[in-house]
């Protein structure tokens, strides 16, 4: 481990390989093929708070507040320099070389981000403060007073939100504030049922959506990883399988802005195997595309059907099975036919429709 490596901390990661973000931290830029000192092929991720460095065998973070100054090597007469040096507070100097993107772009974004000092803990600005020490009057007393204060808070919240949404770049500036607001609101609803919280989270959006401007040509790779994290909860509620159309709508709903196209989603899903994520994009004979979690293979569903058989809750139709297990009709049909193929079930076809019974012939 080189001496300069010791000036950086290890970077904790999510199961998908994406880094765990700090409170209020938002991604600004993602660059690949970056070299730091003698380490090549690093993924360089700039956020509002840190610089994150990732490679198969290497994950480190540098907090922006530990960077004293940036030094961009001057361009030569005949060639542009791709070198940027970090002068850290502990007097270490780290040299970065950028091979896939303009060094000056990185320098610009870094400078701007460092200037903003997003990591400095402010009071959650003018959104949630109560007016302490104001002159007391009876209008602020009693239930009426409480209601009035609530209304004032809501007014301020609304103002803050409309101001932010008026201009998307302003939104990114206000991103940290938005994120804090989202978290506060989420915390206030923590007493409600789990479903409400989940829905609310979806509605308030993801905290750091992958976008083409931050990830560039890594977009689909990053999107693929984010989908993996995002889909854990929805998949677990649907026996590990969701139609692609469903994934498209719930994911975009959560993003809120900078929606991804169906093409983007499809391309990202095609990368699951390559990135070794525990998800699979499945195409059924009917043409239906689904995302399935590797934790929930077909066998799990077939075992469930086996249980049903033994407890005699028959006969089953595709629609009754679909509602039992929260599946679409085509998926329900698929599993029933699969179970029939495995000789677990037999069928009864009549004017009443198609029903499935435990296999009475074996």
């Amino acid at each position: 481990e080189n001496k300069k490596g010791c000036s950086m901390d290890d970077l904790p990661l999510l199961p998908s390989g994406r880094p765990i973000m700090l409170t209020g931290e938002v991604e600004v830029l993602v660059v690949q093929k970056v070299q730091m000192e003698d380490l090549e092929g690093l993924l360089f991720r700039l956020t509002t708070h840190r610089v994150l460095l990732q490679r198969a065998d290497y994950t480190k973070q540098i907090h922006l507040q530990n960077i004293d100054k940036l030094e961009a090597e001057p361009h030569g007469w005949f060639s542009k320099s791709n070198i940027l040096k970090f002068h850290l507070r502990n007097t270490t100097i780290l040299q970065f070389s950028f091979f896939s993107v303009d060094r000056d772009l990185v320098f610009q974004r870094l400078s701007k981000t460092m200037q903003k000092k997003s990591w400095v803990q402010e009071l959650p600005s003018n959104v949630m403060t109560t007016n302490k020490g104001a002159n007391f009057s009876t209008t602020s007393a009693g239930i009426g007073g409480i209601i009035r204060r609530q209304e004032e808070k809501h007014e301020k919240t609304n103002q803050s939100l409309s101001q932010a949404f008026a201009d998307l770049s302003a939104l990114m500036d206000n991103a940290k504030e938005m994120v804090l607001l989202a978290q506060k609101l989420k915390a206030n609803h923590s007493n409600k049922e789990e479903d409400d919280v989940n829905d609310f989270m979806l509605n308030m959006g993801l905290e750091s959506p992958v976008s083409k401007s931050t990830a560039g040509n890594l977009f689909h790779v990053e999107l693929s990883r984010q989908l993996c994290d995002f889909l854990q909860v929805p998949l677990s509620r649907n026996t590990g399988i969701l139609p692609l159309t469903e994934v498209y709508s719930i994911y975009n709903r959560a993003r809120g802005t900078e929606l991804i196209s169906p093409e983007d989603l499809y391309r990202a899903c095609l990368l699951f195997e390559q990135l070794q994520l525990p998800l699979t994009l499945r195409r059924f004979d009917s043409g239906l595309l689904c995302v399935q979690s590797d934790l929930y293979s077909d066998q799990v569903m077939l075992d469930y059907i086996d249980e049903l058989v033994k407890s005699n809750k028959f006969p089953l139709t595709a629609s009754s099975f679909a509602s039992l297990k929260n599946l679409t009709m085509s998926l329900a049909n698929y599993y029933l036919l699969k179970a029939e193929e495995r000789e677990m079930l037999c069928r009864d076809e009549s004017f009443e429709g198609l029903l499935f019974y435990p296999n009475i012939f074996v």
Partner: protein, 175 residues
């Protein structure tokens, strides 16, 4: 047989009346139907079955559970019986003769009767052998004439008897 026929339990289950698509299941279902059909015709001593008629019989139409086996299904069973040698089409896909006892088995019964009545070397008419009072108690009494003739053919083949006709009379000589 005045006794009512008792159907096996599976006859009361709806899937029994749907021809199963999965091969293994289908074969097991076919086996069960073949057995049932043979038991049924044996019980009622039926030899010839008309498909259009039998489709409405209690065998293939269980009114209690409101299920019936389709005509296609009945053909499926009969084809299998033919393949096994238990049946023969009288009119393809319309009428079938079912040997709930094979001609060879009948031949045996007839020959045993002949032996027991010391008929070797004697001649008797078809009528005497099949419809007379003498054979009233025999299993082959009034057996379907076509089946009876087949049985005799087997005996001929086995060189246990000879069949000949004169003046519209058919005679059988036991050897």
């Amino acid at each position: 047989q005045a006794q009512p026929f008792s159907f096996p339990a599976i006859h009361n289950l709806p899937p029994f009346f749907t021809v199963q698509p999965v091969l293994n299941t289908n074969q097991k279902q076919l086996q069960m139907w073949c057995e049932l059909v043979l038991d049924y015709v044996r019980h009622f001593r039926l030899h010839e079955v008309d498909l259009m008629e039998v489709v409405n019989s209690p065998l293939f139409w269980n009114k209690q559970i409101n299920r019936r086996l389709s005509l296609e299904g009945i053909k499926w069973i009969m084809e299998e019986l033919v393949r096994r040698g238990n049946a023969e089409w009288a009119i393809q896909d319309q009428r079938v003769i079912i040997y709930w006892r094979t001609p060879a088995e009948w031949a045996n019964l007839i020959y045993t009767y002949a032996i027991n009545n010391a008929m070797e070397g004697t001649v008797c008419t078809l009528y005497e052998l099949r419809e007379s009072e003498a054979v009233e108690k025999e299993e082959f009494f009034e057996l379907d004439i076509r089946v009876f003739r087949k049985a005799l053919a087997v005996l001929e083949q086995q060189q246990k008897a000879r069949v000949f006709s004169s003046n519209n009379n058919v005679g059988v000589k036991f050897l």
